[in-house]
Symmetry: C2
Subunit: 449 residues, 2 copies
């Protein structure tokens, strides 16, 4: 039996374990934390998760389609809280397209249970990987008693996250190109509790966003009626920042100024503000992702991306699906499988990394910009006129499985159509008129075929 | 007395020690290696060094102008060995501009001796820095017996090179942006021994270059009549590469094909090829360079650059000069000094890092390109016509102390002048004619004032 060792029983590592187990591999997973099903896991430590088509497709490949559906809340668009009195709804698409808001921990728990029931897969908890020794084919761990441990491996796949210890060691090798890039903003988890059991204080099936240029709150619905918020502020700086807001009055003063309508929704604001950690966003780019057929990086370990496009976990799941396909197509040839996997994925992950950085820097400002709103309207019309042909950039990323790079490159043509339309008086005056519709149709066709 | 601790007694660390000692600081330098003046140092481990105006200026500030002159061999231009029978001389400038070829070890030895004679400066050898503890203000070392050691510090300046242990630890901090980028080519040292004492086998006062597109040899003259060569080949790849050439017949076969005229010059070719290590080239970009007023990165630790523009050590020396100026202008305010230093240097080092990467990728091909040679000719004429105003990009980098970024940005205008002139029939037919000269004058003046 072919042996695969996976470091990390997070989302990517466990899904990969399940898929490889089903392909007939003998899979050993090592995880630094204790089994989350047997221990209390502290909340407040992660940015909420939305699944999109890419992630769902990979979960379905693992036979988890039905079970995962029970855990999620679909959201069909953004609800922008532009001011206390002004709300704007932006549906994601014309045909009920949805993202799926899901608890990271509940999804992880499901994956762990399924992995442990999958034949050939086993998981050992409480072993923190600190490095590898290629010449002796073994991995070094620190166990829960701070003792050094070693385990042998044949092939190692590192799914140990954006701060990967395996990648950190690979970084010392000649020819390993690497970069890490932090956003100036960091995130903090805040909670909008349920009104009462399963009753939401805000409309359930939307992502709620309070965009305030440099500052933003996003709220994701949970199954129990609560919503988990991410507050984004600069970490440092002379204006409002996590460093500057260091007393209760200051937090309340600035919240009243910036996000007054959220205050009644956040009963534990001050407590959470001072006790939940700041969560940074880091882009990681590196290559090569593998050392021959011995070690492979996957998921966040290979490519950290900012969460602004909601693609982190989805990209990791898509990695699993594509890696397993490469391994299926090249039986008994891991070197070719790993080479093809990197060939297929690296350029796409670099594209979504760039997009996530640009989107994050734009979105906080653009979302409230009238030109941006008109652009969205034109894009929605184009999709209505050419429903099987045209999707907006956001839709291509979130609601198709077109490779990321291609999804981004298509925008070069489409944006020229929209740019031209944005200059039309007819469109500016009434984008919903019949004349506008005809103009959109003709302009689009002039550029595309 | 104000205490400064420096990690690394290489070129940058020792020069900084001398300059700070002269400014009245108490300086403690720690170096991982043994004192090179008391132990045998293995050769073959480094790429040769040329000093240019930037480096010389900093050495003069330390009062070392006369002593360093005794160690160097000036080179006034490139001697291109285009084929066995075709040699082309390219002077660096019209006014005797020179680079200064110098042994890294001899220069280091001089700096160490001067540092130890400088009041307030002391050096401890054989302590390899492995990290720092900011909360306890101490540095961790491994000594020559593999024992852990600690030393206290007030302010720490890390001059511990491109693989800096201090930077490596800083990389784990939130907000530390970092990238490392390797060239596909690596270097290997080869030696052209002296004909007899102090007699050179090749013309002494040039840098000798054998450009062969993907492959290149550069030879630097030493004081003793020998020349030290750097052979540049791809590390890996299906064509000629260090990985592919793994037997004596293969090395000789490809050397005869590529560099036949060097074979009689390199009596120890095969031995050196198989025993000297491959030396990679890595660009390192990072920021911020300092943690408050406690820790600062300098030299290669802050910015690794490929050696293709010959700026590595010169940039490190220029760092020392500029840092000392910042510290002089802000007495008793290290935070402001370090902030200003980064403000002044980071953009310039990013500019020379980009330039060194681009230049490396271009030079191997361009050097033999007729368009490139004509361009050089036009640039030389422009400098003759406007001697106090116009310098080529190479000259601005090597023979002035204009900040790197500005040196690069000026090229945006100048290259348009040259591009236009390259299209002129007159210039193509006879760049040295009186007509051509007039045209160059007029075209230049049309773009500049």
């Amino acid at each position: 039996m072919k042996n695969i060792t996976i470091i990390g029983a997070g989302l990517t590592g466990t899904l990969l374990g399940i898929l490889l187990g089903r392909q007939g591999y003998s899979v050993q997973i090592y995880e630094r934390n204790k089994d989350p099903r047997r221990t209390f896991v502290k909340h407040g430590k992660s940015i909420n998760l939305t699944l999109c088509k890419r992630g769902v497709s990979a979960l379905e490949k693992a036979g988890l389609g039905d079970e995962v559906q029970k855990l999620w809340v679909p959201v069909y668009g953004r609800c922008l809280h532009l001011s206390e009195s002004q709300i704007e709804i932006q549906p994601y698409g014309n045909y009920g397209e949805a993202l799926y808001s899901i608890s990271r921990q509940e999804l992880n728990t499901l994956l762990l249970s399924v992995a442990q029931k999958t034949s050939g897969v086993s998981i050992e908890f409480g072993l923190k990987c600190v490095g590898y020794d290629l010449s002796r084919s073994c991995i070094s761990f620190i166990d829960e008693n701070q003792k050094q441990n070693e385990r042998p491996f044949t092939t190692l796949i590192a799914a140990d996250g954006v701060y990967s210890a395996i990648r950190s060691q690979m970084q010392r090798n000649f020819g390993f190109n690497y970069s890490q890039y932090y956003s100036k903003h960091v995130n903090k988890e805040l909670t909008i509790p349920a009104k009462q059991a399963k009753e939401y204080k805000l409309e359930k099936n939307h992502l709620h966003i309070w965009p305030r240029n440099e500052f933003m709150i996003i709220a994701f619905p949970n199954r129990d009626g609560s919503l988990t918020c991410t507050l984004q502020l600069p970490f440092d700086g002379n204006n409002v920042s996590f460093r500057k807001l260091n007393s209760e009055p200051e937090v309340l003063y600035h919240f009243r100024k910036l996000f007054s309508d959220t205050i009644p929704l956040l009963p534990n604001l001050v407590d959470e503000f001072f006790h939940n950690p700041e969560i940074p966003m880091m882009t990681v780019r590196c290559s090569p992702w593998h050392i021959e057929d011995k070690i492979l990086l996957i998921g966040d370990a290979a490519h950290g991306i900012w969460p602004s496009y909601g693609q982190g976990a989805n990209a990791g799941f898509e990695d699993c699906e594509i890696l397993c396909k490469c391994m299926e197509e090249n039986p008994d040839n891991l070197l070719t499988s790993f080479t093809e996997f990197q060939e297929k994925r690296l350029k796409n992950l670099n594209a979504i990394a760039d997009l996530s950085e640009n989107h994050f820097n734009e979105i906080r400002h653009l979302v409230t910009d009238s030109n941006f709103l008109l652009r969205k309207k034109i894009e929605r019309k184009m999709n209505l006129l050419f429903p099987s042909e045209y999707f907006s950039l956001y839709s291509r990323v979130a609601f198709t499985t077109i490779p990321y790079k291609q999804a981004v490159e298509l925008e070069q043509i489409y944006s020229r159509v929209v740019d031209e339309l944005l200059n039309s008086q007819e469109i500016i005056l009434d984008p919903d008129s019949h004349e506008s519709e005809k103009l959109i149709y003709k302009t689009y066709r002039r550029y595309l075929r």
